[in-house]
């Protein structure tokens, strides 16, 4: 084995080291980059930074900062300072995935033996096939992702099985985006709806109870896994005011809705009013899927033999499913009783209530929309159906295409269908796509028109004891 020959270069460098240093420094100081930086300054900066700050692991940071020239040296080696993210929130979502805890025997304090066969759901309810709907939404590129929809499905199940709420039906309505948190909204009908008996003050349009705009009860939660909160019933005043304002949701149900005109209620009420407007104008179904029922045509029932159309990629094959909400903020117009006519006067003509289109009106059918929640209001354009088409494939001739429509007036609302299955979803800010026209302020109050007369009365003498006494000296 031959020993490696000593490198003559070292010898040369050793002998001439004194001469080489200035040359090496000159080389390092030579401007090398377009920005004007050079190696000498770079290393000097890094070294002086290290000596100033004296971090615990200088070698690591030296290497890192030389590599990246990141002289700010974000010192990240103190794990004590790292934030602890709120993992409890994650735990609430994770709780959706776990099996319910067996009830605890109060005598022994031990969990009762689980009997899988005997386990009955605490509450029977009906719902839609959330995961099938999710695949339809995914095909058309609307709605939520499949993994999020899976959590939604579990949340629907948790709400449906809740033995206290006792829902009859649950449907996932959608997700309302807010500035700080988003609301997941569930549309339910209750087995035992509460019937609040509230006196309606005179001159106020009464609230519809368990019918009309309040036919459904809505539950919301900002985090799947948390117990959904029931929203209050909406009132005509809230709907009318919500149509005049344009506000983002914040994600806090107790937040003030600071707007003009003054909104009657907190964000929970505003959210409920927006849901009522969005549901009435964007929940749609294929034409022929439902048929009118009853003499007055105020309710709908499933058609027994529904023949699916060839394509759903046509606005004309869809119709509104929920009843039209009038400008008054009610489904059924409320007419104030005419005032008692004074003697010798003709009784006043009662006001003509707004006439709504019949239920299940096709989306393409034009009608005079007073409320503005249905007609299209796109800047620069007028008229036309406020809907456009979505499809799962642009390739012509593909079979079993998922088709549907999406709302241009309420961006985020979409309906998709395949065969005999259809589904609606809303994912958006809860805001109508229309230019905002602020309501003008109220008229200026009239001047005080009584003459300003000088008063001859002296002001009452202030009590001597409460008078501030002047400090002496």
């Amino acid at each position: 084995m031959a020993e490696p020959a000593p490198e003559p270069a070292i010898e040369v460098a050793g002998t001439n080291a004194q001469d080489k240093v200035p040359a090496a420094l000159a080389y390092l100081q030579k401007a090398a980059s377009d920005a004007g930086g050079n190696v000498y300054d770079h290393i000097t900066d890094v070294l002086s930074k290290l000596l100033q700050e004296k971090p615990d692991k200088p070698v690591d940071l030296f290497e890192y900062s030389v590599l990246t020239k990141k002289l700010a040296l974000d010192v990240k080696e103190t794990p004590v300072l790292l934030p602890t993210l709120k993992e409890t929130h994650a735990a609430t979502t994770a709780s959706l995935f776990s099996a319910p805890e067996p009830p605890i025997n109060p005598e022994t304090g031990e969990p009762e033996a689980a009997e899988p066969e005997a386990a009955e759901p605490p509450n029977e309810y009906e719902t839609e096939n959330v995961m099938t709907d999710a695949s339809l939404f995914e095909a058309c590129g609307v709605g939520l992702s499949r993994s999020e929809m899976y959590r939604v499905m579990l949340a629907v199940k948790a709400l449906g099985e809740d033995p206290v709420v006792k829902v009859a039906t649950v449907r996932f309505f959608g997700k309302m985006l807010g500035t700080h948190a988003d609301y997941y909204v569930f549309e339910t009908t209750l087995k035992e709806p509460a019937t609040p008996e509230e006196e309606t003050p005179e001159g106020v349009v009464p609230t519809e109870v368990n019918s009309g705009v309040n036919a459904y009860t809505y539950f919301v939660t900002t985090r799947l896994g948390d117990k959904p909160v029931q929203l209050p019933d909406t009132t005509p005043a809230a709907i009318v005011c919500a149509r005049q304002i344009k506000k983002f949701l914040t994600g806090d149900l107790d937040a003030h809705v600071s707007a003009y005109p003054l909104f009657p209620g907190r964000e929970a009420m505003y959210l409920r009013a927006q849901i009522a407007r969005i549901a009435a104008s964007t929940v749609v179904c294929p034409v022929g899927f439902f048929q009118l029922e009853g003499d007055e045509g105020t309710s709908v029932a499933k058609t027994e033999e529904f023949a699916a159309p060839e394509t759903y990629e046509d606005v004309a094959s869809w119709c509104y499913r929920y009843p039209h909400v009038k400008a008054q903020g009610r489904v059924e117009a409320f007419v104030f009783p005419p005032p008692e006519p004074a003697e010798g006067e003709e009784p006043a003509e009662p006001e003509e209530p707004e006439v709504s289109p019949p239920m299940l009106t096709a989306l393409t059918e034009a009608y005079d929309d007073v409320s503005g929640d249905y007609a299209r209001l796109v800047p620069g354009e007028e008229g036309g159906a406020p809907w456009s088409v979505v499809t799962s494939s642009m390739v012509p001739g593909v079979k079993f295409k998922v088709g549907g429509v999406k709302s241009l007036l309420w961006p985020g609302a979409a309906a998709v269908a395949l065969g005999n299955t259809f589904a609606n979803v809303y994912v958006g800010y809860g805001i109508k796509n229309a230019p905002f026209v602020p309501v003008p302020p109220p008229p200026v109050a009239a001047e005080f028109d009584a003459a300003l007369v000088e008063s001859s009365e002296l002001p009452t003498r202030p009590d001597a004891e409460t008078m501030p006494t002047e400090e002496e000296g």
Binding site: T68, K69, K70, K76, L82, P83, L85, A94, A259, S388
Partner: protein, 239 residues
């Protein structure tokens, strides 16, 4: 490769009122930071079916840009649509003793939908698209902008301060300290952090439809725009 750009990314989808939506792609080559400002050569591409992509011709000229930006309304979905902009010509001062002449015919300008599409895509990219986690890029010595391979996950993914604009480098500022979203006009960004999936979603309220996500679990991020293509001019009322 054919496009001749170093990197190509999907900007998003501009929704239209009648036709198929427009998909926009952004090709970048040669991104450099010279004296605090980001310079790059960029090209835009559009597609309506996601399969065939065409170049989007840039619109230059301040007057054209001003006129096209004034056109309101949604894009129609038909690239051949033309828009006519009328501009009144100032009437000449009437000479004394003479009757005022008829006002001259207004000037008309024709613009295509693709010119509008370019400006819409350009303003989205310019204003909001360059969001990234703080510290994921570095300006190398030769002024090119490079990703940091050792970029460690964000310590505070649930704070707006953790996300920065790559474009807006304040003058005199070191290019490694970019302007964070928290320094933008207050209320223009909404951040939600899901601690279950450890994903933060940052949405622009000024450009509704733009969203940026950062996954703290996988240390990955992405961004996309899907909206009608105009900024929210009512924001001041809505917060």
């Amino acid at each position: 490769m054919q496009a001749g750009v170093a990197s190509l990314s999907l900007v998003g989808k501009i929704t239209t009122s009648a036709g198929p939506d427009y998909l926009i792609a952004h090709g970048v080559s040669d991104a450099k930071a010279i004296s605090g400002k980001v310079h790059e050569e960029s090209r835009l591409f559009y597609s309506q079916d996601g399969a065939t992509w065409s170049d989007l011709e840039p619109v230059t000229g301040d007057e054209d840009i001003a006129r096209i930006s004034g056109i309101a309304g949604w894009l129609s979905g038909t690239p051949a649509t033309t828009y006519t902009v009328e501009e009144p010509v100032p009437a000449p001062e009437p000479v004394e003793g003479e009757e005022a002449a008829e006002p001259p015919e207004p000037l008309t300008f024709e613009y295509t939908e693709l010119q509008r599409l370019y400006l819409i895509a350009f303003s989205i990219i310019d204003e909001v698209f360059y969001v990234q986690p703080k510290g994921c890029t570095v300006v190398a010595a030769d002024t090119t902008i490079r990703f940091v391979p050792s970029f460690s996950p964000l310590a505070y993914p649930d704070k707006l301060e953790s996300y920065v604009h790559l474009k807006a480098v304040a003058p005199g500022q070191k290019s490694s300290e970019l302007v964070s979203l928290a320094e933008d006009v207050r209320g223009t960004w909404a951040l939600t952090f899901d601690s279950f999936t450890r994903v933060a979603v940052v949405r622009s309220l000024l450009w509704p439809g733009y969203a940026f996500y950062y996954s703290a679990a996988t240390n990955t991020w992405g961004k996309m725009y899907s909206g009608p293509g105009y900024s929210n001019s009512d924001l001041v009322f809505m917060l």
